[in-house]
Amino acid sequence: MSAFSNLVLSPMLLPAMPASTVVLPSFSFHEFQPLLPAALLAITAMLLMLTEAFSVSKSRSYQAILAVVASAVAGFLAFQNTQLPAGLILNGRGVMDGFSSWITLIACLAAGMSSLLALGFFRQRNAERGEFYGLLLFSAAGMSLLSVSNEFVTLFVNLELMSLATYALAAFWRRGNRSVEAGFKYFILGAFASAILIYGVALLYGATGTTQLDMLYHVLPKALEDSPWLVWSGIILVLTGLSFKIAAVPLHMWTPDVYEGAPTPVTALMSAGIKAAAFVALLRVILHIGDSSAMLLHILCFLAALTMVVGNLLAIAQRNVKRMLAYSSIAHAGYILIGVAALFAGGHLGNKVGVLSATQMANSTAEMLRSSALQGILFYLLSYAITVVGAFGVLAAIERREDDGAPNAWDLSKLSGLATRRPGWALAMALFMFSLGGIPSTIGFLAKLYLFKAGMSAGLIGLSILGVLASAAGMYYYLRVIVYMYMRPPTVTETGIRHWSTEFILAVSAVAVIVLGILPGPLLDWLSQASLFSPN
């Protein structure tokens, strides 16, 4: 399964074209431009696989470097693409817009950073094996492609490409049974979810005769009259399948187990990259099938509220830091859902979801809403990626080999007195915690601000209030980490093994958290120009 498969095959998927004349359509180069990062990643991945097959050397650090370089270049390419005009490519199988390129960028970021983490992580456990980086890059490629796909089957395939690689990564850590269990759970439930997804796709196809989102958008209203039941069940199935990936409550239950069990670098990748990619998929689908009725908005708001509250509540009761971060990632998915709802509410001005209706909010225009919501979501995903990778980086750094598979491996007490043992790491961790909690002068605050602002400009006041209350409650468990690091005497003596790569990651993300938290200027300007392909 390579990323090229659907490029090669896509000409055969032409819809409206007389069956008699099958001609291969001619694609201009710039249609492939959005695919370049993915292509690069995929090729590098294969190379790595090959080197694994033929190489004899024990050390795999060169592979890590290669992966990092590849994802850096890919990220650069993606950044180039952010300025591209929005439009369809490859006869509508894919779209190109700033949004997808940003998601690709985030994916590359996640891939690069987690492979750096992995370098140190596996070196310390001398358990380096080459498939790791290959799979990692495949997964990244999957994310990138997912972000550009505009057609259900393509979307499904890319989702699977991303997921399959991640299943393998999650189960990669063979020592102890936790990693495998994580992989198994993730895989089995993931397969379940994607089966649901594809069944929904089938139903939609049946109702509308197309699997291509932009066409779907146009025929859906008619289809709704003809066979509403079919369409709705299709929509629900598809949404369920997708919400599974973003771990929205009540489809979140796999998250803590998988995040905890998976090797920490993989966890970082999942929480940073996969979430982003899954969100873009959900977003595209909703944008195309959503406008048909306000009912979907209610579902979204409901999901968002539930996710925020439950995620935080669950995290509060956690002593296991890694698991706590997993739960908090659920909560963050909830916050992002506010943004999604806002983006979507753009189509439904005057809705009465919030305390104030959008019209009362002094006539905001649909475009304004969309762009601000979009900006909010992107910024949030980006900031979350940076912060959470850093946080997991700290965990990876202080993880002890002998604890692999021990139930209390990441217990809070493991952090106690970190400030005296490793002031630098403690400081970084504190920063990440404040940022996740959304305390001003960190990037986390700005991100939340954007989202809530977007939410309120869409009139989702109630949701926003719930959001701030939830994040206030959430601050509790972030603070507890700091309490242990700074206000408790050290219980364990050893200081964790340092590795330049880990240190590098921590430094970079800590600095980013602060600097982008205070001067996000250029970044925000770029984000604000990010376009999103919308059918109308």
Binding site: F184, K185, I188, L189, F192, A193, I196, P228, W229, W232, S233, I235, I236, L237, L239, T240, F244, P250, L251, M253, W254, P256, D257, S293, M295, I299, V310, L313, L314, A315, I316, A317, Q318, A473, Y476
Partner: protein
């Protein structure tokens, strides 16, 4: 005095602008002794202290001279006043307070008393406190007190007066608790301060209400009245609403006849002209109340304040305990000066006082009851200082009666004379203690006359003065008050005054009794076997000299009190009355305008002086004094001498009185314990339990609880998770179905 010094030693302006020096000197002394006291050494310390007070005594003399003659360029009562303004203290909006000093004949007399008696007591202390460790501290506190008292007297606005008012309270707190390592003494200090604080609460509220009153009258008074006069609004803007000038203008305004109302009533015959103060207030927070009503309330709040400071009912309880301080302190603060601040205050705002007969009656009643109760308690006390303390309380009661019946000059005269003889007796007591190893129980003293001649003679004079034996000042001052009670008329409340007259006589009788008892038990007879020392020794000259001087003064003060040694162009006025006439001028005017309280104005003696009344009054008083004095003399010299049992019938009564009628215990029970209980209860149940535990932690714990509950669902079973997904799916589908069907 004009006879003695026809010429001013200085031009008045210099004295006027130099008023601040009077306060500054003791303040400086306090500062020097307080900061460098240790370094200076005892000699220099008491030099600094005495010199500073003596200096301000001399300055006060200058002021006195300056006030002797009128300043032609200033009209009205202000002709007999010096005033100096040292800039704004604070000013917000139309409210303003200046550092303004103001000395008229009232404050000048007070000045002399404070600095003069103060100086003597400083002198006395140099010997009395000789062996104390906190010598410098003591003198710096004492100086600070004098400075504060002078501020109180010289202030030209209520706010500045309040500075002195609280300042003296503060100093008395410090001095009562001077020997702080004795728990009880320290507590006594705190008790004094907090009781005074209750009074200050009254003072503050009263001043705020006055501000409101001023604002209202300025807004509403018809033209032609003094407040609507542009010159007044100028001075109001300059001096602020609480300056005494402004207040007097307010008073005269309120007392002006209300033309419009008069017109209405003109039809009816024999109507009393309505006054402005009977109007209702139209604007502002006081809307709906009548001026006179508010004024009465204001005066009652002031009464509360004065009761706190001057130890009247119900706040007198702190004074007896205040005797914990060194004896000179008791003499200066708790007999001569601070405690008379309340009387001074009422004299100061006499023009307001006379406008509310009800308030005056209340003041008189409070004073009278205090005088009686204190006297009764004093009967059964054995501690020399305690007895003097209660006698002070009861004498203050007399002064309040004087205020109440509108004879301000008499009340003030009593302040002065009382300052002399009471200070004299306190110092005498101090000297007794000094000579007898700090023995204060009069039962364990006795027969000191031979051993301490000076002390005993001066003490005798003091006793006679306070009992009111004719050729002594106390008689005239006290009798002037009683006479006032008998003859003055108070619109609607004249009968009250007459009743009070009787009670006053009784109080006087008691006074005579217990004071003589005190004297006899302490000085006469033979030395008690229980005495600490076999032989007492007379004190050194720095202690006896002040005694002698004060004794002389308490005789000499008579010249102010005798009516018939008449002053040119004011027949039959007492000297003090004549001298203070400009001060109480305003009140007389207000009074005449108002005709509210038809008082027999002192000036009007001339016409038909009730000589017969006067004489009978005097004779009554004199007889009472002599008789009661004689009785107690007889009883304690002959009957109960030498441990003879007290008649058993009276024993419970005695014990009841001895325990001060259990008033302290009552307060403890009703107020203090209640408050403490309330505080504890609130803290334990409302704050700690309800607000903090239930509301705050409760919320947190509820959240945590839900977290744990949800966590329980994460049981790690894949199929459980899957079923959650399936469930969500099912719900979604049904929801969609419903939407479609509807």
């Amino acid at each position: 005095m004009e006879k003695l010094f026809p010429e001013y030693p200085f031009p008045i302006q210099n004295i006027e602008s130099g008023l601040w020096l009077i306060i500054a000197l003791p303040l400086l002394g306090a500062f020097i002794n307080g900061v460098f006291g240790k370094a200076l050494g005892r000699k220099n310390v008491h030099w600094v202290a005495c010199a500073s007070v003596g200096g301000s005594f001399l300055l006060s003399l200058l002021v006195m001279w300056a006030l002797g003659k009128a300043q032609p360029e200033i009209p009205g009562p202000l002709a007999y006043a010096l005033s100096a303004d040292y800039g704004t203290w604070f000013a917000v909006g139309d409210f303003k307070v200046n550092f303004g000093l103001f000395a008229d004949r009232l404050s000048a007399t007070m000045l002399l008393v404070i600095t003069g008696v103060g100086f003597l007591i400083h002198l006395y202390s140099t010997s009395y406190m000789e062996h104390d460790k906190g010598y410098a501290k003591y003198f710096s506190f004492l100086n600070l007190f004098v400075a504060m008292m002078l501020t109180l007297v010289l202030a030209d606005s209520l706010v500045l007066l309040f500075v002195g008012w609280e300042g003296v309270g503060l100093c008395s707190y410090l001095l009562i608790g001077f020997w702080y390592d004795d728990e009880a003494k320290a507590w006594a200090g705190r008790k004094a301060f907090i009781t005074n604080r209750i009074g200050d609460f009254g003072f503050l509220v009263a001043s705020f209400l006055l501000v409101l009153l001023m604002a209202a009258s300025v807004k509403e008074a018809p033209r032609g009245t003094p407040v609507s006069n542009p010159r007044f609004s100028a001075s109001l803007a300059e001096k602020g609403p609480l300056a005494f000038q402004s207040l007097s203008t307010l008073a005269s305004t309120l007392a002006t006849p209300d033309i419009s109302a008069a017109k209405l009533k003109a039809a009816k015959p024999d109507h009393k002209p309505a006054l402005l103060m009977e109007r209702d207030i139209q604007t502002g927070p006081l809307k709906g109340f009548s001026y006179s009503g508010v004024l009465t309330v204001v005066l009652l709040f002031f009464l509360l304040g004065a009761a706190g400071k001057s130890a009247q009912l119900p706040l007198y309880v702190w004074l007896p305990d205040a005797m914990a301080g060194p004896t000179p302190v008791s003499a200066l603060i708790h007999a001569a000066t601070m405690v008379t601040a309340g009387v001074y205050l009422f004299c100061r705002i006499s023009y307001l006082v006379v406008l509310s007969p009800f308030a005056m009656a209340t003041i008189a009643v409070v004073g009278c009851l205090t005088a009686l109760i204190a006297a009764l308690i004093a009967f059964a006390q054995d501690d020399i200082k305690k007895i003097l303390a209660y006698s002070t309380v009861s004498q203050l009661g007399f002064m309040f009666m004087g205020i109440g019946c509108g004879l301000f000059w008499a009340a003030f005269l009593h302040v002065v004379t009382h300052a002399f003889f009471k200070a004299c007796m306190f110092l005498g007591a101090g000297s007794v203690m000094h000579g007898n190893g700090d023995e204060t129980d009069i039962k364990r003293l006795g027969g000191l006359r031979k051993e301490m001649p000076w002390t005993s003679w001066t003490f005798l004079i003091g006793t006679l003065a306070i009992t009111g034996i004719v050729p002594l000042s106390g008689f005239f001052s006290k009798d002037a008050i009683l006479f006032g009670l008998e003859t003055q008329q108070l619109a609607g409340y004249t009968p009250v005054l007459h009743t009070l007259y009787i009670l006053g006589l009784i109080a006087a009788a008691c006074t005579a009794f217990y004071m003589v008892r005190l004297y006899v038990l302490t000085f006469e007879g033979k030395r008690s076997p229980l005495a600490k020392l076999p032989h007492a020794h007379e004190s050194a000259w720095p202690m006896t000299l002040p005694l002698v001087i004060l004794a002389t003064l308490s005789i000499a003060a008579i010249v102010y009190g005798v009516p018939f040694l008449s002053v040119p162009n004011a027949p039959n006025q007492t000297l003090i009355e004549f001298y203070l006439a400009p001060v109480f001028n305003a009140s007389n005017q207000a009074n005449q305008l108002g005709m509210k309280a038809h008082m027999l104005l002192p000036g009007e003696f001339g016409g038909e002086t009730p000589w017969n009344l006067l004489w009978t009054g005097w004779i009554k008083a004199w007889l009472i004094a002599v008789v009661c004095g004689g009785i107690s003399c007889f009883l304690y010299l002959k009957v109960w001498r030498g441990g003879r049992k007290f008649p058993a019938i009276l024993e419970p009564l005695r014990r009841f009185a001895h325990n001060k009628f259990f008033v302290d215990e009552l307060y403890e029970l009703l107020l203090i314990n209640r408050t403490k209980g309330l505080a504890k209860g609130l803290y334990r149940y409302v704050d700690a339990f309800f607000v903090d535990r239930v509301a705050v932690h409760g919320t947190a714990q509820t959240v945590g609880f839900f977290g744990r509950v949800l966590r329980w669902f994460q049981n790690g079973n894949v199929q459980a998770y899957a079923s959650a997904i399936a469930l969500a799916l099912a719900v979604g589908l049904t929801y969609a179905l419903l939407q479609v069907l509807s």
